[in-house]
């Protein structure tokens, strides 16, 4: 059951990602991105990480893709230029690099699939059943990963302040000129 669902979600995610890259209409691309993100959330559910799955849907599907759609619609940039020519030096180098990367990661996956070693980790089904995955995430965020967590919050705070400064700059200038 789980393996079928994995291939269903994973397959649709890969097809969605390809469609996103090759689509000429920016709004359609954004929608395929949404499809891919939702399917990846499905993969998270299969990995017993329900919290991450729902957070992914809330943050990416609920906010970021809406913003992407917004910008595309406001700028009226939904129809991009057609791809002029495929075979340039840059593209060939990129394809080569991608193939190297695929080989490396594919080997890793192959080794993992056919290894006899059982997978070990601290987060097993029993742990999640005992604590609930939200509690688990929260606990490790505030104990083991406290410093990165706080650093990320400071980064976000800087972002918010930056937006306020940029957005309010004209207002401040107006006030200074006494208008």
């Amino acid at each position: 059951m789980e393996i079928y669902l994995f291939f269903l979600f994973g397959g649709i995610a890969v097809v969605g990602a390809l469609a996103m890259v090759f689509n000429k209409n920016a709004v359609h691309s954004a929608l395929f991105l949404l499809l891919t993100l939702v399917m990846i959330a499905g993969l998270y559910v299969l990995l017993n990480a329900q919290f991450i799955a729902v957070a992914q849907i809330m943050v990416y599907a609920g906010a970021i893709v809406v913003l992407i759609l917004f910008v595309v619609m406001l700028l009226g940039a939904e129809l991009g230029e057609s791809i002029p020519r495929w075979l340039t030096l840059r593209n060939s180098v990129m394809v080569l690099l991608a193939l190297v990367f695929l080989t490396v990661s594919g080997t890793a996956v192959y080794d993992w699939l056919y290894s006899t070693q059982p997978i070990t980790g601290t987060v097993t089904d029993e742990v999640i059943a005992r604590q609930g995955s939200v509690q688990l995430v929260g606990e490790s965020l505030f104990t083991q990963f406290l410093l990165p967590f706080e650093l990320a919050s400071i980064l976000l705070l800087v972002g918010i302040i930056g937006v306020v400064v940029l957005g309010g700059w004209r207002l401040v200038q107006h006030r200074q000129r006494g208008e």
Partner: protein
Amino acid sequence: MDWIQTLLIPIVYSTILVVILLTGFAYLSYVERKLVARFTMRFGPNRAGPFGLLQPLADALKMMFKEELSPKNADLPVYLLAPFLAISTAVIGWAVFPFASRGFSVLGYSVPPVLADVNIGLLYVAAVTSIGSYAVVLAGWSSNNKYSLLGALRAGAQMVSYELPLGLTLVAVILVVGSMNMTEIIQYQLDHTWLIVLQPFAAIIFFIAGLAESNRSPFDLPETENELVSGYITEYGGIRFAAFFMGEYIHMITFGAIISILFLGGWSGPGADAVPFLGLVYFILKIALMIFMMIWVRASVPRVRYDQLMRFCWKFLMPLALLNLVVTAIVIAL
């Protein structure tokens, strides 16, 4: 026969739910028309059948047999996807709502009182409400109409803004209960008292933000008929228009259900522990009360202006929700 328990029962369960919601919507539209008519000293629908009770059926038939028109330069795939999204995003939230104190068993297979008793129920609800804006935004964009696009942009801004106070009230609820599981939230209210008593501000903010999230009056700016024709649904007709209509009404029912579970104790009530069926009745009554409030608001409050809408959200609801959250956290820490 494990597959009956894991596959067949959820499928039948959700099919029944969807059918009930889709037919319930038809009579909700009748109730709304009748109530708004009475609020404004009119009669409302009273021609088709006794008391106009067959009006929804007549409307449905009319919608179904209308010609399917679409604008010439519409983005057809997205244009057809949007009404579908409008219904499905309204329906999927029901997976985590508990309906009664316990389930029952049929032929040895147990039917649970909740379709998916997950420990992230509340987050799931938040996620589902956050993707509700897609139908509106995509419908407006794909219609290739200026009014539609304006309505869609308004809707997008409105929904993204009002999500924040909505989410903050949910956090306050989580702080009080200490769990995101819907069943445990109701259990907490059984043990203590309804959360509307403990969190009155959260309940009010949630109700207002919920009105805005489901595009209900006085926040129905995405379809202001006196400035935007019909906003994002201007170019939709026939059964596709009916789909948007359906989505909006099911959103109303869903919000009624969420408020009932979070703040009014869900299925709890006298005798609901012993007789699970009574719990279902209480739950439906509470949803009906919430829907009545929404219709009441629509009949008595004028629509707000766009700048008022944004100012109200960011300068009043947001600080209030934040303050409520901070005070709740301090009280719990003490």
